[in-house]
Amino acid sequence: AQPRGPVVLAAASMQESLNKAADAWAARGHVRPVLSFAASSALARQIVNGAPADLFISADEEWMDYVATAPGRPGGWLRAGTRATLVTNRLALIAPAGSKVTMTIRPGFPLAAGLGADGRLALGQPGAVPAGKYAQEALTRLRVWPSVAGRVAGAESVRAALALVARGEAPLGIVYATDARVEPKVRIIALFPAGSHKPITYPVAALSGAGAGAQAEGFRRFLLSRDGRAIFAGYGFGTK
């Protein structure tokens, strides 16, 4: 049988870029890691229930914290000193490609007016999907949340929110900039100011107790290396 590479559990939104990175890593003569994409919440729970995985890439810090502090294994579920920020992202206000709406994002900006009489604002579900949490935080700080709180359509994932806008079902939406830029059927109206919400970061960490430790560590270092970051940058992620 083929040697099996390290198992990487990653947030679904990393699918394209991480696959590219894994290909690049394999092209250097390493065993290609096994990538499993799902919601960060599902992956984190799998880890703390003893699933045999080597790396975890979360879509937000909270689920990485959850794994870091979960009981059940002496010494913790994460390998000490391996947690790092892999990439960062921005929030974008989007509209269907044909939309004429223009808006500048600043405190008190007239977001609700852009929704028309009965339009909905498509978000990842606030309180559940990370992108939605950031969006709610930003709109709250900009003092426009109360005016749109009742108009939100909370999608199951940021991709689903994107689809609602792309299909024209919602006149406006807030998604990650990385998602917005690859969907031709939507137009970015504006990016949210970086200071309007907590930094959007995707942390990576090695998991304790799995077999493929050395290989996993090699892949982790590769992801964080200049070459690795260049791949993510190619997909629009920030890589400070």
Binding site: S41, Y66, R120, A128, A153, G154, A160, A163, E169
Partner: protein, 228 residues
């Protein structure tokens, strides 16, 4: 079971969505079941496969297809909009998604019972002067009642648990489309949300227990073993 006012509102919405979905689609399900049980036509297997579609496809795909068809830009959606009906982001859309997902289960159960109805009894009713529709209403339907009940129960349970198609189709809008499973999903997405998940899941279990007990009682009232 301690639920706050929001919690009870979610329960009420879930019951409304499931009840409307199941009762609304039941006649169609019975009709399709009847055609599949009795019809001998080309394309029967294709109809059968179509009926099973919502079962075979992942729910999010079903939700996505509903979005394509019933969205403001979709063919059916535009037609409905012309009549002043919108389902997007409405509880009616959630009911539609639930109905579609429950449909194959209801059809199968009903079909099984229709196939078990003794056609000789229908013949007897005809010799007594009953027209096709009366035979159907007074003989076929009552004798197929166990399957109808089972279909309603299965469909109701499936609706109570429906998540993927609903959230993809009509999103998660508190008070409008946020049914119990969507609330549970939201809680699942939060670190430390397990307690809320457990509480809401227990409510779902309690609802289904009540529905089951009611259906069993109904079946018994219809005369042991549900009328058979």
């Amino acid at each position: 079971m301690m639920l706050d006012a929001d919690g009870w509102a979610i329960v009420a919405l879930s019951l409304k969505v499931s009840a409307v979905a199941v009762l609304g689609v039941a006649p169609l399900a019975f009709g399709v079941a009847w055609v599949l049980a009795r019809g001998r036509f080309a394309g029967r297997v294709v109809l059968d496969a179509l009926v099973h579609l919502p079962l075979v496809l992942p729910p999010v795909v079903v939700g996505w297809l509903l979005l394509l068809a019933f969205g403001a830009q979709g063919a059916v959606g535009r037609w409905l909009a012309g009549m002043g009906i919108t389902v997007m982001f409405r509880w009616t859309g959630a009911a539609l998604a639930s109905a579609v997902m429950a449909f194959p289960l209801m059809v199968r159960a009903m079909r099984l019972s229709i196939e078990a109805v003794d056609i000789r009894l229908e013949d007897a009713a005809r010799t007594l002067g009953a027209h096709r529709w009366r035979v159907f209403a007074t003989i076929t339907l009552p004798l197929a009642m166990p399957g109808v009940l089972a279909g309603l129960v299965l469909g109701f349970a499936r609706s109570l648990g429906e998540f993927g198609a609903t959230i993809t189709f009509v999103s998660n809008i508190p008070g409008e489309t946020q049914t119990l499973p969507l609330a549970i999903y939201a809680a699942m997405q939060l670190p430390g949300g397990e307690a809320a998940v457990t509480r809401l899941a227990m409510v779902a279990v309690a609802l289904s227990l009540i529905a089951l007990a009611a259906s069993e009682a109904l079946a018994r009232r219809m005369g042991g073993k549900g009328g058979l």
